[in-house]
């Protein structure tokens, strides 16, 4: 299962690669990384059919995670759109409602509980 992680913090890549090293080694998951919403969109236009799940931070300079979500769910062609999980440091209801309205599939708050995330990802990949 191909997963795109979008976050402006470069160390997120190292973190995910280590957290999911067994899954990566076994080939269950493969991760790609983008450091901004714009970069993520560019990547998706090249690999839209491959990416099953997007994990995106909301608060990023430039295009926000919510805008990226709107583009992915409404503008991106062709359907079906990938699943999108939003991650934010601000777990407020405003952001949550907005994300859900825009069609987010899940809403996680930082700090991310990797054990729970792993379970969710396993559930999606085996579904």
């Amino acid at each position: 299962m191909k997963i795109l992680v979008v976050d402006d913090e470069p160390d997120v890549r190292t973190l995910f690669e280590q957290r999911f090293r067994r899954e990566i080694r076994s080939g269950e998951f493969s991760f790609s990384f983008a450091y901004s919403g714009e970069e993520a969109l560019t990547f998706l236009t090249g690999h839209h059919s491959e990416v099953v799940l997007i994990l995106s931070d909301i608060n990023m300079p430039g295009m926000s995670g919510l805008e990226l979500l709107r583009h992915v769910k409404h503008d991106l062609i062709p359907p079906p759109p990938p699943l999108v999980m939003m991650i934010t440091a601000y777990g407020d209801t405003d952001s949550y409602n907005q994300a859900m309205e825009l069609g987010a599939n899940d809403f996680l708050t930082k700090p991310v509980d990797f054990t729970a995330l792993k379970d969710k990802l396993h559930a999606i990949s085996t579904a």
Binding site: D11, T14, P111, F114
Partner: protein
Amino acid sequence: MSDSNMIIEGPIAVGLVWLGRRFLDTPTRLPGWDKWLAQIWKPAVVLFAIAIYTGSSIDLLADAFVLAVLWAGVGAGWKLRAYRPAWLIGVGLVPYVLLATVQLLLGIVAPQFLKANSDTLELAIMVAFIWQGIFWLMARNHKKAEVAEQQIRLEAEREKQRIEAQNLDLAQMINQRTAALARQTDELRATLSELQATQGQLIQSEKMASLGELTAGIAHEIQNPLNFVNNFADVSVELVAELEEERARPTRDAELEAELLRDLKQNLQRITQHGGRASGIVRGMLEHSRASTGERRPTDLNALADEYLRLAYHGLRAKDKTFNATLQTDFAPSLPLIEALSQDLGRVLLNLFTNAFYAVQKRQQLGEAGYTPTVSVHTQPLNGGVEVRVGDNGVGIPPDIQARIFEPFFTTKPSGEGTGLGLSLAHDIVVKGHGGTLQVVSAPGQGTEFVLTLPD
């Protein structure tokens, strides 16, 4: 006078003395004489009594008594000759008294001669009497004039006293006024020092207010590195467990072990790095809240601008979760360090960034299509200094407001949102504290740029 007698002349003499004393005011002018003059009634009474008792007219004695009284008048006139009415009285009396004396003496020593020349003498006495009357009138006029003059003098004296009293009043009023002014000056001085203390408190509270605005941003800024620290620590425990597992295997994968060790080392470096990031933010926050120490240190404006740009951004995001902006940084790589009060300059930059974000947020709220809120910071070395430009593509500042933005307490924000001190303090810090300049260029509806220059 030969036909006169003591019964008539006695009271007349006493009356004359009484009139004379009053007219010349002998009790004050001639007190030595007056004592005796006041006693004149005593011999008069004696003579009067003799005259009544003997039934004789005692003409000679009576005449002599009256003459004595008149001579006393002449003497008093002479004694008081400096006093014009007295002198006139004296001169007026002299012919009459002389003639009356001659008449009396002739009556004693040469009655025949007196009888023969009686008419002439009577005429002379008549003339002398008139003369005396004239002089008395003159004396009276003189006295009146003198009284009038004295009245005027008195009046003048009184006026003088009145003026003096008035002067005294005025002096007192001046004293009171001076005292009141001194009191007012003291009060004003007290108020001034109170205001200065208040100003200090205001500056501190402005600092605290901006810190409060930042709290959420700071929390976010600290939370991020802390998450990394926790995550890398967690994952390192997993790596160590995996390494132990690997080492327990009969056939060890050397390559995997090396990879795990490499990752562990990398993680520990990341932990240190993110821990340092968090403590840097805490240090910055403490520096921001601390009162300026006045100690200048070489300051890297690139780092300072970057730090406060992030703090300001996250501070605003904490309030408006949906707010998003593009941050453009253009930092000159070889920017010279500036001797500066870094926490003060941090406040200046924070203020400029906060204003920039506020301006783009306002424009965004107008709902313009295709609008991307952008805040930029640009540094470049100058000949003998550094220039920092903080720009935004926000609502801009109208020209009439541009002229006032550095005034203390001037704010366009709704009441309660701004102290109106931010830019005023920023201006003070840059211009007075660092000898730099702070200028604004703005186009309403397009954006604003603050240009900050600082000398080495």
